[in-house]
């Protein structure tokens, strides 16, 4: 059984309909990737997502690429764990926002882009940031507000930009970056660059007017924008059914008159493939695609959130049966793409790198107000760390790298 993402054409294709047999089919495991799954947000058991599923490899990736993806997934998870530890040691300034359980979406989608493409990650897209080429060291510095970090301590988390390498850090105002990315792609059109853009948004963030205006503009202008709606069941404490009738994000996306891809967000290859295809369609002049990625936020909104609003066992069920790393390892090993030992080696390497990065970042200084409270306007002061200090480049084996 090939598990390809479900693709809905902007025109002509079948738009989503309510499915009365949902529960029956879900039990039988048939409903993979079907939008109706989203209605399970209302459910207590999250049973549908607990169906044992494998991860496809019709994505045509080489072994090296498959391993690279694993490295990125693991690096993402471990880096976040480092951040939590540092948070507990009050080394982190502000909060830590985890992507535990949804790393496959961030990593897989970003892997489907190419170097030079524009990427706009949100707080839960550390994995996308690393995949697109940011150093783990940079993220550590950023979370600890070090002068050496990409924003020089002026801003936090994934909030740093350099359009030269395609990173457009978000502002906190959800939805706001969708029109901004459309603007980046306008610029590329002027410059006749072959660049696409990937912008992440949450199920919650997709309720904002800025999201609507920006995506609609990109659609009317047929810009090569890939929008990933990370449908992770919650916006802070709010379930998706409060964001959109029936929690139906696919129908919402369909209304924009763009292509819609509905994917299993815990399947890193499905995410990769959907993005790659969306990117190609976009560059072929077919306009934006919305990828609705079904996943689950296993941690609270941030470290301080105790998730009291979550039903019993929901988190545990997702952790046990639908962890994106576990699934991917199973696929890699059972499919004989690699050995457990090879994976172990990757892990050892990543651990060592992250330990070193952490030690280096911890030892560094916070910014000096004399040099870092300047340059609201161009005043000849450029105290920002240039991207070369925080950029390692896209992954070696990624297509087009």
């Amino acid at each position: 059984m090939l598990l390809t993402p479900r693709h809905i054409k902007a025109s002509g294709g079948k738009p989503p309909e309510a499915d009365k047999d949902h529960d029956k089919k879900a039990k039988g495991g048939e409903l993979y990737g079907h939008y109706a799954a989203n209605r399970r947000v209302l459910d207590k058991s999250a049973k549908y997502f607990v169906q044992k599923r494998k991860t496809s490899n019709d994505a045509g990736l080489s072994k090296a690429q498959l391993l690279e993806l694993y490295r990125l997934l693991f690096e993402t998870r471990r880096l976040e764990e480092h951040l939590v530890a540092l948070y507990r040691q009050t080394q982190v300034v502000g909060g830590v926002y985890r992507s535990l359980g949804q790393e496959a979406t961030a990593v897989g989608c970003a892997y489907g882009m190419r170097d030079g493409d524009y990427l706009q990650p949100l707080i839960r897209d550390l994995g996308a940031t690393l995949t697109h080429g940011v150093m783990p060291l940079a993220m550590l510095r950023q979370y600890m507000a070090k002068a050496t970090g990409p924003s020089g301590g002026r801003d936090l988390n994934t909030h740093f930009s350099d359009p030269n390498v395609g990173i457009l850090g978000p502002v906190s105002m959800l939805g706001a970056m969708v029109p901004v990315l459309a603007g980046c792609l306008l610029a590329s059109r002027f410059k006749k660059e072959d660049k696409a853009g990937l912008v992440f948004i949450g199920d919650g963030g997709s309720s904002t007017g800025a999201f609507y205006e920006g995506l609609n503009f990109a659609a009317v202008q047929k810009l090569p924008l890939v929008v990933v709606i990370e449908s992770n069941h919650y916006a802070y404490s709010t379930p998706t059914t409060t964001q959109v009738p029936d929690g139906n994000l696919v129908r919402r996306a369909y209304g924009f008159g763009v292509d819609v891809s509905h994917v299993d967000g815990n399947d890193v290859l499905a995410c990769y493939e959907a993005t790659k295809l969306a990117r190609e369609r976009g560059l072929a002049g077919e306009g934006p695609t919305v990828i609705v990625s079904e996943t689950y936020r296993r941690k609270g909104h941030a470290e301080h959130d105790n998730q009291a609003y979550v039903e019993d066992n929901e988190i545990e069920a997702w952790a046990k049966d639908n962890d994106p790393l576990d699934r991917y390892i199973e696929f890699l090993v059972k499919g004989k793409y690699t050995s457990k030992k090879a994976l172990e080696k990757i892990r050892t390497e990543v651990e060592a790198e992250l330990d070193a990065a952490r030690d280096q970042a911890v030892a560094e200084e916070q910014p000096d107000a004399q040099t870092h409270l300047q340059a609201v306007f161009d005043d000849g002061n450029t105290p920002w760390p240039h991207y070369e200090t925080w950029w390692r480049g896209g992954p070696t084996h990624r297509e087009g790298s």
Partner: protein, 325 residues
């Protein structure tokens, strides 16, 4: 009288007003089951049910727009922004266009309250630390409240909810759990538009509001150690501005300094300088001076944020300059 925190004071004002007036309801993001990002509405869903504690999509135009519509139709909505910074999104237009102009345009009152956590010191960075008061002070039709104590927070919020016009109610998040006051159990209000002399003094006056009231009081205390008598006025309400108290202080102390956490250019200090010029110029024995944040976004790193926010020492230094004038 029990001692309660600023946050508890806001919570109890909301609860009491909801009990007293069935027209009052709350609307915002994550205010129900979660009790709000800062837990200001904690426990209220259980007490009042989802009809009166309305969780919304992430859509501030809907939050404030729906509140404005309900207010025009006789309700008394209180809209929460998760951080007041997000007022720059779609809800901005609802507040400055729909709510602020309704009475003037056609006599339809729009008594809504928009409240939310403001201010820095929490290491929130450029988008979770705003003092956005001047966007609204400069827009006719919106009252603006910025309390400094738990007692005032409760009494002013009650006034705001009962007020017949739109009110922006700014809660300094740094004070939520750091400030405790004796707050009466009985119903009371602090009227809008009345400043309060927090410290008596006759050599000079510091006019301030919000969290800077505490910083300014510390500075005044320090100045007193050198024998200086510094009056500290807490504005409490920025619109309507208590011009009488401001002018009286200028006349009586002849020297005035304004302290605010908001950035400098176009800040409230300018408005106060103009008011004093117009009403008490002859009494001035020195220039009206300002201690404010610099004209930058709020930075994230503690080293930067501390340099950004006016500190006791900044106030003392500037005050000494004025005292010696």
């Amino acid at each position: 009288m029990p001692e309660i925190t600023f946050l508890e004071a806001v919570n109890s004002a909301l609860k009491e007003e909801m009990h007293a007036d069935e027209r009052v309801f709350l609307i915002g993001e994550d205010i129900g089951a979660y009790g709000g990002a800062f837990k200001v509405t904690g426990g209220m869903l259980d007490e009042f049910g989802p009809e009166r504690i309305i969780d919304t999509p992430i859509a501030e135009a809907a939050v404030i727009g729906a509140a404005a519509g309900a207010a025009m139709c006789g309700m008394r909505p209180v809209a929460e922004l998760q951080f007041i910074d997000f007022i720059s999104c779609g809800g901005f237009d609802q507040l400055v266009t729909v709510a602020a102009k309704s009475r003037f345009r056609n006599g339809v009152p729009c008594p809504l309250v928009v409240r939310g956590p403001a201010g820095g010191g929490g290491r929130g960075g450029p988008f979770h630390s705003a003092c956005p008061e001047m966007w609204f002070v400069s827009t006719p039709g919106i009252k603006v409240v910025f309390p400094a104590t738990a007692y005032d927070a409760k009494g002013l919020l009650k006034s705001a909810i009962r007020d017949p016009d739109p009110v922006l109610f700014l809660e300094h998040k740094f004070l939520y759990r750091r400030i405790k006051d004796e707050v009466p159990n009985e119903d009371y209000v602090v009227p809008l538009g009345q400043a309060l002399e927090r410290r008596a003094g006759d050599e000079m006056t510091i006019i301030t509001y919000g969290a800077m009231v505490h910083t300014s009081l510390e500075a005044a205390e320090e100045l007193s150690k050198n024998g200086h008598s510094v009056r500290v006025i807490d504005l409490r309400t920025l619109v309507p501005l208590d011009e009488d108290t401001i002018v009286k202080a200028a006349i009586e102390t002849s020297k005035v300094m304004i302290v605010h956490e908001d950035t400098r250019r176009g800040g409230l200090a300018g408005e106060i300088a103009a008011v004093i010029n117009e009403n008490a110029f002859d009494y001035l024995d020195g220039p009206i001076l300002r201690v404010t944040a610099p004209d930058t976004p709020v930075p994230y790193a503690p080293s930067l944020e501390d340099a950004f926010l006016p500190q006791v020492s900044d106030i003392v230094t500037k005050a000494n300059e004025l005292l010696q004038y």
